[in-house]
Symmetry: C2
Subunit: 302 residues, 2 copies
Amino acid sequence: MSVLYRRVAFIGIGLIGSSMSRAMRRDGTCETIVACARRAETLDTVRKLELADVVTADYVEAVKDADLVVIATPVGTNGDIAKIIGPHLKPGATVTDVGSVKQAVVNAVQPHIPEGVHFIPGHPLAGTEHSGPESGFPELFEGRWTILTPLPGANAAAVEKLSTLWRTMGAKLATMDPVHHDQVLAITSHLPHLIAYTIVGTASDLADDLRQEVIQYSASGFRDFTRIAASDPVMWRDIFMNNRDAVLEVLQRFTEDLTQMQRLVRKGDGQALQDVFTRGRAIRRGIVDAKQADPEEAKRHG
Amino acid sequence: MSVLYRRVAFIGIGLIGSSMSRAMRRDGTCETIVACARRAETLDTVRKLELADVVTADYVEAVKDADLVVIATPVGTNGDIAKIIGPHLKPGATVTDVGSVKQAVVNAVQPHIPEGVHFIPGHPLAGTEHSGPESGFPELFEGRWTILTPLPGANAAAVEKLSTLWRTMGAKLATMDPVHHDQVLAITSHLPHLIAYTIVGTASDLADDLRQEVIQYSASGFRDFTRIAASDPVMWRDIFMNNRDAVLEVLQRFTEDLTQMQRLVRKGDGQALQDVFTRGRAIRRGIVDAKQADPEEAKRHG
């Protein structure tokens, strides 16, 4: 693979940033990797794992001469970061991000991007419940979608180069309008996480003895929810703060549907419950057919 | 391993029953396996896969001379089955079941069990989203809990023998009061499944184009819910019909908590959201520590 960006700066290098840096090293798609983080502990880990050629806590130093700047911090910080780095970006450079919310990031970042620099928002639909630079691995993006939400009038060559970078890391590429992205992710990701966090919270409010048993006998559905609810709290706080309208909209639909399910259980309407459950199975088949789930991933639960 | 039960009859031989029959064959814990099912298609599969020595659609013929009868059908059928087989059970035989609800099964089955036959309700906390005899595998129960809910005055030797059978299949054994079992399972299993079915239903009600995208980009939390929601619809219908009070009780707590989360998102209370999310992480750690989840099972999501 040939070099796509000579110098790449990661602002924030947790699970996603460090997976990208590992993959880009492996692929030879860059020459020099700069890692920038606020916390000394993170910087130490990056040095110890040799994830970057240059390690710094200084945003301005990090982006100087960078051909690609990847903002990979919780989305609530992106505006402040853009404001700091904006005046120091190299003409012709590309700035991208990896946040799970796109319109709020566009609103916060774009005003600080100077003429001649290409801001191309992005979102790899990949992750694990672990966080921090030690959790990354270069195969994270393989076979997963990365959604780019380029703004109207975006430089086509810059978008194509960033797309090539993602494809080289194994990702499937899609482009989307930022608002539409936020609606799709509200239901595929944000609502499921909110629900998982809620049910785990409900369980943790149980009386001590019952809570212990819930933990002990969790291998029955609940365990999957706790895995989802183990994701980074600050990252998720920022997602909900920045995709509020779309989340509240799908949450409203969901609670209506849950109220209906509650009514069916209370009434003992077995046929209607069975109909809903049968539809669920069909949707799952659609996902397996769309190759978003491996039919062999059949985890043992019960 | 020595023979524990010479003749074993499975009434219903889907995922759980066929996994048990495979494991008992492997372990040599029985001599003869009888499989009984209503549907010709199921019986054909059992014959083709050679999961049993005797295959029959006749409940009475199935249980005749059986030393162990395993009722492994959706829990709503257990009472009718017990009524049919009751008069034909061999004195000294053990009858058990594998249902996810225990008190309703006790109420439905126990009245039909003759004096001298040991009814010991059971529930292996194991499964996958697949169903039918072709989905079983002998390792299904390894490292998983099986909960027995023996009635007051149960024959200790019969309980011990059934426990030995489960331990031989790799299960960890616990005993519990049936009502308490139903409360624990309502939160660890039944509520998560109800929620998963609901959110998948919410998604399937979306406009066509959005629904297609939800399927396409599901690798973000939603996919985990669809896997849960792919479980057998009839089995789950019967669970909700037979554990109504406990499910409605935890559902009430959950909806209160969800309303509170909705309020936090609407108000934009980031600190409170972060606190809830941080607690979720702690609960997950408790589960990983309790070895109910493999920390390396880190599935890729995002």
